[in-house]
C-alpha cells in the first residue's frame, strides 16, 4: 500500500503534465514537423494529386523563390511591420504613455483635459480589445468609397483597393497601439516619481527629462515591446484579410498568400512551403527575443 502511494507520488507530476504535453504535441509539434513533409510533396486538395501524391523534395521551395507574388508578399510584410509596428505603434504608444503620465494643473481646464485624456485612452483600449474581424469590417467601411477616410482625403474611390498596403498599415496602427501604450504606462509606473522631481528641481527641461531620465529607464521595456510587436505584426492576418476581402490579390502579405494558396487554390503543399520559410524568419525573431530576455535578466540581477 505504502509503496503504491510512493510510486504514485513520484509519477503523479508526470501524469498531471500528460494532458498538456499530449495536446501540445498533437496540435503544435506534429503539425510543425508534418508541415515540413507536406511542403516536399505535390499534394493538392483536388485533382489527381489529391489521392496519390509524390515526394518532390525542394521543388515547392524553388517555385517560391521564383514566384514574384510570394516575393512581393514577403517584401510587403516587411514594409507593413516596419511602418505599422516600429514607426507607428512604438512611437504612438510611447507618446500616449507620456500623455497619460503628465500631471495636469488643478484647475477646471486641467480637469477638462483629464476627462479628454481618459476618453482617449479608453478609445485606444477599445480599438485593441474588440474582435479582429470587427476591426477589419469597420476599417473596410471607413476606407470604402464614400467612407470617412475617402471624404477626408477627397478621394472618389475605394482607398483600400487603390492603396492596400498603406491602408492596412494605418488600420494596424489603430488596432495595435494599445499594447505598447499599456506596456509603457506599466513600465513608467515602476519608475519612482522622485526621480522626475529631482531632475525638475535641477532645472531639466521636459525634453531633457525625457531624453536623459525617462528614456534610459524605459529602454528595457521599449526593447521588449519592440521585439514582441515586431513578431506579432509580422504574423498579422485577420484584419487585413477582412478589410481587403478575398477579391484582392494574394501578394498583399505573406499570411494572406498562405491562406489563398491553401484554401482558395487548394494547394496546401505550396502553402506549407511558404509557411515554413516564414516560420524560419519568425523563429529567428523569437530566438533573438529569448536571447535578449536572458541577457536582460542577467543584467538585472547583476545590478542588485
Amino acid at each position: 500500500m505504502s509503496s503504491f502511494t510512493d510510486t504514485l507520488e513520484r509519477f503523479a507530476p508526470h501524469l498531471f503534465l500528460f494532458p498538456a504535453l499530449l495536446l501540445i504535441a498533437l496540435f503544435i509539434l506534429i503539425p510543425l514537423v508534418w508541415n515540413l513533409y507536406l511542403s516536399m510533396t505535390n499534394f493538392k486538395l483536388i485533382g489527381p494529386t489529391a489521392r496519390e501524391y509524390d515526394i518532390i523534395w525542394l521543388d515547392n521551395y524553388l517555385e517560391l523563390v521564383s514566384d514574384e507574388t510570394f516575393l512581393r508578399a514577403l517584401w510587403n510584410s516587411f514594409l507593413f511591420t516596419i511602418f505599422s509596428a516600429i514607426i507607428g505603434q512604438v512611437v504612438l504608444g510611447l507618446l500616449l504613455a507620456l500623455a497619460a503620465r503628465a500631471s495636469l494643473p488643478d484647475t477646471p481646464i486641467g480637469k477638462a483635459v483629464s476627462v479628454l485624456r481618459t476618453l482617449t485612452l479608453v478609445l485606444v483600449f477599445v480599438s485593441w480589445v474588440i474582435p479582429e474581424v470587427v476591426a477589419g469590417y469597420a476599417w473596410a467601411a471607413l476606407t470604402e468609397k464614400g467612407g470617412l477616410a475617402s471624404l477626408l482625403l477627397g478621394a472618389d474611390y475605394r482607398i483600400y483597393a487603390q492603396h492596400p498596403l498603406g491602408t492596412i498599415i494605418v488600420a494596424n496602427i489603430w488596432r495595435g497601439t494599445a499594447f505598447s501604450m499599456i506596456l509603457f504606462i506599466a513600465a513608467m509606473e515602476a519608475i519612482p516619481r522622485y526621480i522626475y522631481e529631482a531632475a525638475e528641481i535641477d532645472g531639466a527641461t521636459p525634453f531633457q527629462r525625457f531624453r536623459h531620465v525617462i528614456l534610459p529607464l524605459l529602454a528595457p521595456a521599449i526593447l521588449v515591446d519592440f521585439i514582441l510587436i515586431t513578431i506579432w505584426t509580422f504574423n498579422v492576418f485577420t484584419q487585413p484579410f477582412i478589410m481587403l476581402r478575398e477579391a484582392l490579390g494574394k501578394e498583399v502579405l505573406w499570411t494572406i498568400f498562405v491562406y489563398n494558396e491553401a484554401v482558395k487554390l487548394q494547394n496546401p503543399s505550396l502553402a506549407a512551403a511558404a509557411a515554413n520559410v516564414m516560420f524560419a524568419v519568425v523563429m529567428a525573431m523569437i530566438l533573438a527575443y529569448l536571447a535578449f530576455m536572458r541577457r536582460l535578466e542577467r543584467w538585472y540581477y547583476a545590478g542588485r
Binding site: 496540435f27 506534429i30 507536406l38 502553402a271
Partner: protein, 278 residues
Amino acid sequence: MQAGSLANLQVIALVAFLLIVALFFGAPLLWLVLSSFDPNASPEFKVPSSPTLSHYLGLNRPIGNATPLRWIVNSIILSAATATLTTLVAVLSAYTLTRHPLRWQKGFITLLVVFRLTPSIVLAVPVMVLLRAVGMLNSYTSLVIVMTALILPFAIMILESYFRAIPVDYEEAAVIDGLSRPEAFLRITLPLAAPGIATVWLLAFVIMWSEFVIPVFILGDPAKYPASVGLWFFFGEHGRVDYGRLSAFSILYSIPAVIVFLVIRKHLERGLAALASR
C-alpha cells in the same frame, strides 16, 4: 500652478495631441455605433435622422442556412468549452511545474514561449490537412481541442506565475495537520489561486471568442460558424452589403470582449509590468 504640472503651452499641445488621437481611434468605433441605428446605413459617416432598432431586431433573420444570433450562441458554446478545458489542463500543468520542479523544466518553459509566439496561420494548414485525413473536419470537438492546444502555452505561463507566488509552506502545514495532498491542493492552494484561475478562464474565453483563423480552416458549414467567421461570411456575401445589420451584429459581438478585458485589466497590467521590468 501646482509643482510638476504642465505649463499652459504644454497643455495646449497635449490637448491638440489628445484630440487628434481621440478622433483617429474614435471614428471607426463611432461609425459602427451610428450605422447600427441608421435605417439607411452606408459607409458614409452620418448621424441617423430617424434612429431605429430594426438592425438589432433583425439579427435572427437568416443569412444562408444560419442566423447571426445563432453565430453568437455558437461562439458562447465554443468559447466556454475551450476556456474550461484550457483552464483544467493548465491548472494541472502549472501546479505540477511549481510544486515538483522537473529536470527539463527550463527547456519546457522556453518551448512554451516559442509556441506562444508561433503564428496560427503556420499551424492552420497542416492541422486542416491532418484533420481532413482522419475525417474530423467541420467538428466542434476538433476546434475546441485544437484551440485549447494553441492557448495552453500562454495559460500555463500565466498560471505558473500565480502558483509560484503561493508559498508551498501553506500546503505543507495543512499536510502536517492531517490533510492529504489532493485535499491540501483543493482546500488551500486552489482558493488562493482563484483570481489567477478566473483570469486564465476569461482570457481563454476571449481568445476563442475573437479567433478567426483556426475556425475558418476547420469549419465548413455556415450553421456551425462562430461569430468571427459568421461576420466574414456575412460581409463577403455578393451584392449589396447590409451595413446596418453588420454593424449591429459587430457591436453585439464586441460587447462581451470589451467587458472581459475591463474585468481582467488589472491582471493584464500586472502581467505587462512584470514583462517590462523583468
